[in-house]
Amino acid sequence: MVISPVHYIALPLMAAFLIPLFGKLNKDLARIIPGLVLLYLSYISVVLMNQIISSNTIIVEIIAGWRPPWGINLVFSPFTGFLASMFSMLGFVIWMYTYNFKPEVDNAQKQKFYVLFMMLITGATGIVLTGDIFNLFVFLEITAISAYSLTAFYRERDGAEAAFKYLLIGSFSSTLILLAILLLYTQVGTLNMAEIALKMPAVDPYMKGVILILFFVGFGIEAEMFPLNGWSPDVYTQAPGPIGAIFAGMVVKAGIYGLIRVVFTLFDVKEILPLLVIIGMITMAVAEVIALRQGKLKRMLAYSSIGQMGLVVVAFGIGTHESVFAAIFLMFNHAIIKGMLFLSGTYLVYNSTEKTLDDVDGIGKYLPFTSFLFALGSLAIVGMPPFAGFWSKLYLLMAAADVRLMAVIAIILVVSVIEIVYYFRVIHRIYFRERTSTIELKIPSFNAKSAMLILAIIIVAVGVYPDLISGLIERATTDLLDKQSYIQSVLSVGLK
């Protein structure tokens, strides 16, 4: 089989359909298939990334022989490829974690979980890889629908409520994006992103503005921007533990990818960037402030996640090469670190119903490994060296300093102090309080431990030696900002 970016979409989708079938044959097989698929995807990520980095090209994959701008095409560029690889590798780690998560749950339920998980992977990687704006919408819907279902996965009352809220707001998102695409189509007459970008300068500026705002709000909902993110705390809180990691690592990242793609490639209007900075700052400030006042662990992590996304938005909003580099680094760091926090945090409040901070009191003695990793993740996410979070924050600050955005620097740092306060409050509870709750603790299984450990090792490795990843990110940044070469390489395939 020839390695191709299509596999990113085809294989998980196929797996999603195959799981129920194989589940009938062997109940373990249904759990193993996603792992194999994700392992394979991770493998082709390495191969493909290696290929495009070394040959300094972009792979444009044409689906069903229809050449762009008429057909749907997949673009595996350093930026999209980086995100897709990140999704598949993170997906693999999360699969490891979920392999025997909640053994008491029956097999059919587990199969459903993996079906949805695979759908979500399909959607998320699809979003980043596709070169067609409508196709992107479709993948967004796939992602969203599987995410709704995963939120309400355990059929609990709160989960259902959260899912419903998400559905409500998410449908707004879909509607607005669809509306935007329709309007766009009336203006440029094409759905291929490269061609839209090419034709965009000719569009009536007023229409351009309206469409951009519709996209902005639509993707902003998925990307957890400030007034649009009412759904997310509930979802993070109510969804099963690993789902939080999936949300932080993939769903939100896909949303922000859409936003960035639209702003940077399709429209390329510098005027919206200050808005991104402002919205990002507000998001960050509000979220971190609220996180400080949360009494529930996962809710706190949720707000922290929103805050981090605000940071990413700010970084993109500054719009220079350095800041976009920082933004992509931040996305990567947020995916692994928040992923690890959700994964380890899940075990800290495993059997608790309320999942309040009181439940983690004194847990450090009983779950030393998980607690340690949680503490490590906390240190990393607040940006303490020598962990990964430090470098991304540093690069962002450097980028902000380059364009003299002192207020941004100040707010980021003030917010970081708030972050430290609430993360360390949890760490202190974990280690220094006496355990009072009588809830039975759950020791993580070997798979879960190794999943968390992998993430922890990446965090420390990147923190000690950021060059591991910074080369890739540098290429991704160049790729994202180089609109012309994107258009050229996509359309040149079409003209062949």
Partner: protein
Amino acid sequence: MNSLILLLILVFGGALLSYLLNKFLPILRDGFVVLLMLLVNYVFFTMDSATQIEFEIGGIHLQWAFSSAAFLFGIIVSILGLLSITYSTAYMQGKDRLGYFYMNFLFSIGSMLGILMSRDLISLFFFWEIMTWSSYLIVIYSGKDVDKRGLKYIVFSAIGAYSMLMAIVIIYGFTGSFLLTDIFDSIFAIKASYQLAIAILLMIGFGVKSAMMPLHVWASGAYSGSPMSFTALFSGALSKMGVFGFSLVLFNLVSNQNWLINEIIAWLAAITAVLATFYAVIQSDAKKLLAYSSIAQLGYIVIGLASGTYLGVMAGLFLAVLHAVFKGTLFMAVGAVEKQAGTTDMTKVSGLIRKMPWTFTASLISIIALAGIPPLGGFVGKWMLYEALITSDHYYLVIMVFLSSTAAFLYSYRILFGLFLGQEEPEFAHVKEAPLPMLIPMLLLSGISVLSGTFPGFILEPIQNAMVSFGFDPRLPNIEWWQLSVLFNSWGDKVVLQNVMISITAVFLIALTLITWKGYKKQRYVTTKDISSSGEIIQAEDNMTFQIDFYKPFERAIWPLLKRKIDDYYTDFGNGLEALFDLVKRIYNGNGQFYAIYVMAFLALLLIAGTKYFGF
């Protein structure tokens, strides 16, 4: 191998190794850490001063080398590190999680060396943070109330670290480089207001570690809460990193025209010194007392540096070295008392002088040095400080320093009286002298205190080398260190230390001989229960110790200053913020309809405002 790398590998690798050793071969652990620190000292002191290393990481150019200023502080770190770790081997005997302790101990020593060898701001910040969290991990190692003091420490450290980071990125934004040499060259090209901002931000960063006044609230808890063997290093060396940073800022980053900064820093430090001394006076726990005293002493050091004159800077650095020496000894002595008697609460423990005579001797010498009484080292530093301040027309600053150091006599006496003098209570009859590994570091350090009062040359010469790197002309006479005995101020007045030492020692010995000449043998020791108390016969179980409200009259005299602690302001500020945050929290009221309204409102707002403000 490059000896800088070797140094770091030794310390950090040794840290991890000691953790593993504690797991698998705990018997070798103590010997290993001591040997390791000996090796580190060897490598450090035999290092060629021109050694340097440059490399690039994450697209950032980094450079490591020891400047002569850094070397001075490096001496403190390595020697105090060795002694305090030797002390730890006995002090920490029988405690659990020793691997964790030694690992973090060595980590903080390594990170301090790292800070000192950093010639660029990024590795400085990097090591700074490692230092912060390794020391944090020891602060929370044991004891009660770790929750509160740990959080205080980490939050203030974070505030400091992030304002430092902000300054670093601002500097980078303007100069485009993180290398100190580049920055020193180009910093004065920056607009003055930004220069001021950079200086203030860096001051906040370094001020947290050196416990400057509004940022000092973490210090008493963190110093008194960690194991004393670490506090010796914490207060002696780790806080000096802040001083080191100050020296960088004041001499290299702030232009000389910016005298206002120097004045502000000096006055802040003076207020720190006075208030911290007052707080120290009213403490009844020896550890807390020493903690506040450390804050005050750091105040003097910073005043000296901020005075900016040759003598003042020399005084500041001299006091920095000496503070490491005598405060290290004192924390070790208090640790010895804690280890042997079980408590350092001065209202409980008393009269240990006959049980722990060597510990007492070491603390007496250190206290004399701390109080700045001739002929010990502290006096030399104090003398230079006063002369520097007077000759540079800082008259009111002198008064502040003098107020602080006079009030320091109060707590100096308190700690000696509280722990060692006073009534010998029967409940402490079992107390024995501290074991040798604890005594030897204390006595060695107090030996340095004594020696530096007569022969300050051996400390002043490295200090002068450091000061040359700050741009001062060398002024010490070109003679061997043991010949240096006359100190001059800039008006030409002097003090001749060796004369002072000789006359004091001679008079002391003659008087002591005379008073004990006749009938020393005949004199009988009576217990402290045999005191004149209106004829009442005191029984062994009667507690005649005077310890509670020791300085009550003094407290009454200064009560307006003590009425409200700075802690309270922070608490009020925090409470106010939390109330505000709770208001913000109401945005997310959990109602899906509201969220939908937010979305629509936001969309509408953007559509309306978009055309107007974003130009499309």
